[in-house]
Structure formats: structure tokens, C-alpha cells
């Protein structure tokens, strides 16, 4: 309790001060105005290690208000160390906010590597943590050059990369960070979400904000924006196929599943990646 007083005395609501909030919000507005465009912003040092969601946390802290309800997930799980730490930190520095694990109750969801299974609503914001914001980095190491490529719409090399995969392996190998074209303009990195989640970005009701703290970039997908994975006409986009496997706990087969090896003999089970959805479903079914 004493610690809370200390924080309330010396820190602004939601940790970062108003000038920084204003700067980050401006970057967010610009990002929303130009869907898929990476807006540079002055990324601040956070009491987290870089790579632990410093970009996402700066967005969350800039937009959070005392009436918001926050949910934090890491690879679909509400209970991982990363998710728990972020949740505890935000709750401590912004008194009055609600914390939940239920997707439908949350107004802001900060996430890493997954989009929740339950469809998002227009009053919800999904904040994604991004390690590498540049989708063209695979084909071009130079930042100057990738910016030029974005400006000129010079995306031939990205397509060529996909073509080479098809020629060599029969299909595109990219399993996560699948490049998407936003609003028929910029090619964007959807952050390391699996292919399964990519279609959820298209014409979604909610706002998606992407924050990369180390790379100092913010970008966004506004509601009802076309987001298309890069595909060829004769090689359509394909999401993960679990060959009819079911979640061991809730029995669902229409969710993204994690494969877990149980014994040394190689016996394995599948579990829902989205733990709160799995829990909810189990409650409903009475399992």
C-alpha cells in the first residue's frame, strides 16, 4: 500500500508524462490516417527490457483512461510471465482501471503473437507488440532502401520472394509474420501472429495498433480496412491445418491449437492457444 502512495505521488497517471503521451497519440493518429504506414516516434525507455513489449506498453499507457478495462495476452495465454508483468505494472501505475482475462469485457487488449479467438467489437482496441515492424526486411537490409520501396510502391522483390518459395517448396513457407497489403497500398508486417489470425485483420470492427519500441515505429489498421495477405491467383492463402485435432481440454477444433509433446515416446496432445476462450468454453460445456 505504501508503494502505491509513492507511485501516486511521483508519477503521472499511466506512468508516462503528458508530453510523451501527446507525442505517442499524435503518432497513433497519423498511423490511423495512413493505414499500414510506419510512423516513427520517440520511443522512451520503459521499466522493461527491450523486446518485452516496450512498444505495445507505450501505446497502452498513452491511450488508457481510468474507465478502461485491460487484458494482456502473450502467445494466447493470460498467465504467462510477460502478460502478468505488464498487467501488474499497468494496474499499479494507473489507479482505477479494470483488469480482466475475458476478451468480451476488455476495452484495451495488449497482445503478443495472437489475436483473440472471440471476434473483437468496435469499442475495443487491440495493441500488438511488434519486434520487427519492417515487412520488407526479409528482402532488403537497408532502412533507407525499404523506405524508398514503400514510397514508390516498389514491391516486386517481396513478390519475388514469395514466388521463389513456391518454385522451391511448392508453397509459401512463411508461417508467422505473413506480409499483408493494407488498404491496397502499403505492405505491412502484421507482427508475429500465425497465419490463422491474418484473416481476422481484414474488415475488422476493432482498431489494431502496432507498436515497436526498439525500432521506434507505430502503425495501425483502422476499423473496416481491407487487409489482404500477399498471394498468387493460383496459389491461394492457406491457414494452418490441424488435421482434425481437438483441444484436449475443451474439445474445440475451430481454434488455433498448440501442440504439446507429453511423453518421451512422442505422445502429444493439442490445447487451445487462447486460454481464456478455452476456460470459458469449458465452463459453458460443463467439462
Amino acid at each position: 500500500m505504501k508503494r502505491l502512495d509513492h507511485i501516486e505521488m511521483f508519477y503521472n497517471f499511466a506512468f508516462i508524462n503528458d508530453e510523451v503521451k501527446r507525442e505517442v497519440r499524435r503518432a497513433i493518429f497519423k498511423a490511423i490516417a495512413i493505414p499500414g504506414y510506419q510512423v516513427p516516434f520517440g520511443s522512451r525507455e520503459m521499466p522493461f527490457a527491450r523486446g518485452w513489449g516496450t512498444g505495445g506498453i507505450q501505446i497502452t499507457l498513452s491511450i488508457i483512461t481510468p474507465t478502461d478495462v485491460l487484458k494482456v495476452i502473450d502467445q494466447g495465454s493470460d498467465e504467462s510471465v510477460n502478460a502478468e508483468n505488464i498487467k501488474r505494472f499497468v494496474a499499479r501505475v494507473s489507479p482505477g482501471i479494470g483488469i480482466t482475462t475475458d476478451t468480451t469485457q476488455a476495452t484495451i487488449i495488449q497482445t503478443r503473437h495472437r489475436i483473440p479467438e472471440e471476434p473483437m467489437r468496435s469499442d475495443q482496441i487491440l495493441v500488438l507488440q511488434v519486434p520487427y515492424p519492417e515487412a520488407l526486411r526479409e528482402v532488403e537490409p537497408s532502412e533507407v532502401e525499404t523506405r524508398r520501396m514503400h514510397a514508390e510502391g516498389d514491391y516486386g522483390r517481396m513478390w519475388l520472394y514469395l514466388y521463389e518459395d513456391i518454385v522451391r517448396f511448392g508453397e509459401v513457407r512463411i508461417s508467422y509474420r505473413y506480409p499483408v497489403r493494407v488498404n491496397e497500398h502499403y505492405i505491412m508486417d502484421p507482427s508475429p501472429i500465425p497465419r490463422w489470425d491474418v484473416p481476422k485483420l481484414n474488415m475488422a470492427e476493432s482498431l489494431f495498433l502496432f507498436g515497436a519500441g526498439r525500432e521506434k515505429r507505430i502503425y495501425a489498421v483502422p476499423p473496416f480496412t481491407r487487409v489482404e495477405p500477399l498471394t498468387f491467383e493460383d496459389h491461394p492463402f492457406r491457414i494452418e491445418n490441424f488435421n482434425g485435432a481437438k483441444c484436449k481440454l475443451c474439445g474445440s477444433f475451430d481454434t488455433y491449437l498448440n501442440e504439446i509433446i507429453m511423453t518421451e515416446a512422442g505422445e502429444r496432445i493439442f490445447l487451445c492457444s487462447d486460454t481464456s476462450y478455452c476456460k470459458k468454453r469449458r465452463k459453458q460445456l460443463g467439462v
Partner: protein
């Protein structure tokens, strides 16, 4: 007949320029480096017309500004001066942006349009073949992929169709199509050059730029590549700009020739005329010094 492309007063400086640059350089001064500030005047007041289906040769010793000229035309090097194309040859998607609304006949000055439009125009109407295949090709990507890159730029999105088109082109340039999935670095020099030609021609450009295409190939391969280019020109009907220091290449491929020295045009005319009856002393020297 009206020209397809008109280039006027093209001037290229490399370095900070001063008032003395133009006076202290050129064939008369026998240098292209400015005595006062050290700037290199790579091209000065280069003007020419290129007609439809014509091939124009540019000859001169190394350092005479031939390659700079080609790079300017390919929008790789910025330059002063102007370059126009006839509006009717502009791709339909760019007509609204690039045609000159006062004139209507010629386009806007292509040297001062935005980089975005330069890129679009380059993709739509130009093909280039360099001396070193490594400049024109991506050596780590398959030969087919190299050719298909041009189609991808043009908006093709069907792998099967693109592969058919690429193998068609490889067939025409005498590269075995069954090797299209190998990277060009395992090919011989002549074959790499032919893949480069296929890449330059796959989107049926209006203008093909050849920068010393046969230099570095052995004589029999040179002959085959030149033969190939001539046949493809008859088939596709593109215009060509051939830069070479080898007079024989220009003699075989080109109807008209420009002779450059120290960044200036010293003589221009029909190829036969320039080589049979050279007027400028430098051209006379060039023709006489042929091996």
C-alpha cells in the same frame, strides 16, 4: 516520321559545379574535369532524337559519358536538361500524370517528374541490359524468377501464366527453359547475358538500353548475342540505344550513330556515313585505330 523520344541539352555534373566548369572542359580542352573546382562534367548539352523502331549507337572512349547518358535515360542519374516522350506512347495508367496539357503531343519533361512516376515509367516502357550480368540480374534468385520480377512489377499475379511467359522468352533467347529454376550464377557468361536480355524484354518495352552488352564475351558468343538482339528487334519492334566502345557492334546493330568525347557529342549521322566519311578529327582517329 516523328521521333519517339527527344532529349535536349542534357547536362550532368558530378561534384559541386562552378562558373568555370563548362568553359574549362570538353574536347577542345581535352578533359572533362573542371580546372577550377574539380567537378566532372560527364555530359554537356547532349541532344538527340530517337525514332520509333530505330536503333541509335553511341560510341566513344571510356570516360566519354556514354554510360552516364544511359543511366540518365534509365532515371538512375539525375541530370539537367529535358527529355520528352510522345504522349501516345505513355502507358495508359500514367497518361493523366505525365502528358503535357498545354502541348498534348509531347509528355512533360521526364527528368523532372517524381521518383514514383519515374519508376512506373521505367517499368512500363524500358528495358536495360548491362555489361556485367550481375548488375541486371539477381544472382541468388532463379533465372525464371529474375524474368518474372518484371511481370510482378507490371501486376501479374498468376504463377502458372508467368512461368509460361518466362519460358517463352527463355526459348526466344536460346536459354534452355528447363533450367529456369536454377540461379544465373551457375550459367556461363553468354547464357547470363541472354537471361538478362530475356529479363529486359519480357514486358515488351518500347525502348531497350544496351550498355556494352558484348564486352567480355568471346567472339563466337558475341556474334550469337548480336544476332539474337537483331532478330528480337525485328520481332518486337522496339527502339534501341546501343552504347559501345566497339565500333563493329554499332555497325551491325545501328542505323544512326553519335560519337561522344569528354561528355560532348562531336559527330552524329548515319552509321555508314560516320564510319566511311568521318568529319571530326576524333572520329577519324577512332575509325582509323580499329584493330
Amino acid at each position: 516520321m516523328e521521333p519517339l523520344l527527344r532529349v535536349e541539352n542534357l547536362t550532368v555534373f558530378f561534384g559541386k559545379e562552378c562558373n568555370h566548369c563548362l568553359k574549362t572542359t570538353g574536347p577542345k580542352m581535352e578533359t572533362n574535369r573542371c580546372r577550377a573546382c574539380g567537378t566532372i562534367v560527364a555530359c554537356q548539352d547532349v541532344s538527340f532524337d530517337l525514332f520509333e523502331g530505330e536503333s541509335l549507337g553511341i560510341v566513344g572512349e571510356s570516360g566519354s559519358g556514354k554510360s552516364t547518358l544511359i543511366n540518365v535515360l534509365h532515371f538512375k542519374t539525375p541530370a539537367k536538361g529535358s527529355m520528352f516522350i510522345r504522349s501516345e506512347f505513355l502507358p495508359s495508367s500514367l497518361k493523366a500524370f505525365l502528358s503535357n496539357h498545354r502541348d498534348g503531343y509531347w509528355s512533360k519533361n521526364l527528368l523532372s517528374i517524381s521518383p514514383y512516376h519515374k519508376k512506373r515509367l521505367r517499368e512500363a516502357i524500358m528495358g536495360i541490359v548491362y555489361q556485367q550480368p550481375s548488375l541486371g540480374l539477381r544472382m541468388e534468385v532463379s533465372a525464371g524468377g529474375n524474368i518474372i520480377e518484371r511481370l510482378l512489377d507490371a501486376g501479374w499475379r498468376h504463377v502458372g501464366l508467368m512461368r509460361t511467359k518466362a519460358s517463352e522468352l527463355l526459348n526466344k533467347t536460346e536459354v534452355p527453359p528447363e533450367r529456369m529454376d536454377e540461379p544465373p550464377r551457375v550459367f556461363s557468361g553468354g547464357m547470363q547475358q541472354r537471361v538478362q536480355i530475356a529479363k529486359a524484354l519480357v514486358h515488351t518495352p518500347l525502348l531497350l538500353l544496351l550498355d556494352e552488352v558484348t564486352t567480355g564475351l568471346d567472339l563466337s558468343v558475341q556474334a550469337r548475342v548480336l544476332d539474337l538482339i537483331r532478330n528480337l528487334k525485328n520481332e518486337f519492334g522496339f527502339s534501341m540505344l546501343v552504347v559501345s566502345h566497339d565500333l563493329n557492334v554499332v555497325k551491325i546493330l545501328c542505323e544512326r550513330t553519335i560519337v561522344m568525347r569528354y561528355g560532348r557529342i562531336v559527330e552524329a549521322g548515319l552509321t555508314d556515313q560516320v564510319f566511311a566519311d568521318p568529319i571530326h578529327p576524333y572520329t577519324q582517329l577512332l575509325v582509323a585505330s580499329r584493330l
